[in-house]
Amino acid sequence: MLRLDRLTCGYGPFHAVTELSLEVPAGNVLALIGANGAGKSSTLMAIAGHVAVMGGRIIFNDTDITTEPVRTRVRLGITLAPEGRRLFPDLTVAENLTVGGYSQPRTAEARNIERVVTLFPRLGDRLGQLAGSMSGGEQQMLAIGRALMAEPRLLLIDEVSLGLMPAVIDVCYAALGQLRDEGLAILLVEQSTQRAFDIADSVCVLESGRAVWRGTSAAARKDPALVEAYLGLTG
């Protein structure tokens, strides 16, 4: 599904990520973990096309998309639920979902809204409400729902749990688990390492823009250094 081949990306002369290689197969969740500034969000933004790639390749379904514009990537099936959600606050929930499905035919909109509302019933009661007036948890549900409107095959999701109550986090992760079971590939950035380990099939640890550990989630739990560095502090 997604393969990064020695990806280097960043901002101006600054390399946020250096020679990162990883793979996310269909129906799998890969969690990127690491400290602030490790390059996790930059990796997602580079895959989505928002951060300049300085070296390496991004392969999606055997197609090199390294130089493809943002709009092409969403049409190929890559969507981003970014850090801070970045909803359109002056648009209603329904309008946010319409924007999310802009790359799809108009005829698909009602079906996709139905799918989102089934996944997050709370959004169904708030379709006419301005997105900016909703609670943080509802906004996160909308951010995920908006991304799903594009009928993605790869979901890039950044900081699902940040600032949310545990009950809301449970709802979001239950939805992600269901989407994974339906065959969606998910590349997840998460500060809550425990949550990331719970859902991820595999884990990649970044430090200063470089991958320093890769393996399955089960192996990560057994690695004393990782447990002490991440679960010990944040788990």
Partner: protein
């Protein structure tokens, strides 16, 4: 002149201001460019509308053709002058826009002459009585046009996919693009709509004054700037209210302030007074 006359006259003026200023705030909202040359496009609409009316004898046909042609001119204007400057600091586009406005006035002077042009047979000059107030037909048409065009804009923005895409782009262009919205297309549509509305205002001002001169965009340029600041930069609803309010205040001001303030100075006196109380404008845009 009684209060209802002053109120109606003020609302008519406010509708003209709204047609000009809404376009200006649309451009600002999307691109963060203070499009001073918008007033030059307003003047272009006046010239084309007048010349086509004199040539064809049909004001209605001239109006429709002018609005469409100037709309496309606005798109070309964006492509030629603003698109190359999008990655530059905002003051670069502002300076370019001021220069373009001055250049447009000089081009009009060279092409159409420094003296005024007039309609050969001025249309819509009969008077009608509306709610007890006698008005020229042209003034009634101004109000109808403002309602239709701005109402149409509201429908476009709120009910259509491209309108929702446009509002999303105003809110967060990078995120809008990441869902497949073509930013260039949204910007072209934006300039078409803004320029078409300026052209409509230009023709109607030409009609009401029965004259077109190269510098007729000067006063609307600064008044529209005052209006969009009052309305909250980029806020269409606020701009609409500020335009109508300014029209009414000017109308009453010409009676009650005429010994201390020129009519055209009232816009800035109003602007200064409001900004002293609410520096963010009357209507805050998030």
């Amino acid at each position: 002149m009684n209060y209802s006359d002053l109120l109606v006259q003020g609302l008519v003026e406010g509708c003209i201001y709204a047609l000009i200023a809404v376009g200006l705030t649309l451009v600002y909202g999307l691109l963060r460019i203070l499009h001073i040359a918008h007033a030059g496009i307003f003047t272009l609409g006046a010239y084309i509308g007048l010349l086509l009316t004199n040539e064809t004898g049909s004001f209605a046909a001239a109006f429709v053709i002018t609005v469409v042609v100037v709309g496309f001119f606005g798109m070309a204007f964006y492509r030629l002058f603003y698109e190359p400057l999008l990655d530059k600091p905002p003051h670069v586009a502002l300076i370019a826009s001021i220069g373009l406005f001055i250049a447009m006035e000089e081009i009009y002077r060279m092409v159409f002459g420094a003296t005024s042009l007039s309609f050969l047979a001025p249309p819509l000059k009969d008077t009608v009585t509306v709610a007890g107030v006698r008005l020229e037909e042209g003034r009634v048409v101004v109000v109808v046009l403002a309602v239709v065009l701005i109402g149409g804009l509201a429908v476009l923005a709120g009910r259509t996919r491209i309108g929702i895409a446009w509002r999303a782009t105003v809110s967060d262009a990078a995120m809008a693009e990441s869902f497949g919205i073509d930013l260039a297309r949204v910007r072209y549509v934006n300039f078409f709509v803004a320029s078409a509305m300026a052209a409509a205002a230009g023709i109607m001002v030409a009609l009401l004054l029965n004259q077109v001169i190269p510098t007729m965009g000067g006063v609307p340029a600064y008044k529209a700037l005052a209006i969009i600041v009052l309305g909250g930069l980029g806020n269409v609803r606020g701009t609409l209210i500020a335009a109508l309010a300014l029209g009414v205040i000017e109308s009453f001001g010409t009676i009650y302030l005429d010994r201390v303030l020129d009519r055209d100075a009232i816009a800035f006196a109003f602007l200064i007074a409001v900004l002293m109380i609410r520096p963010q404008g009357l209507f805050i845009r998030r």
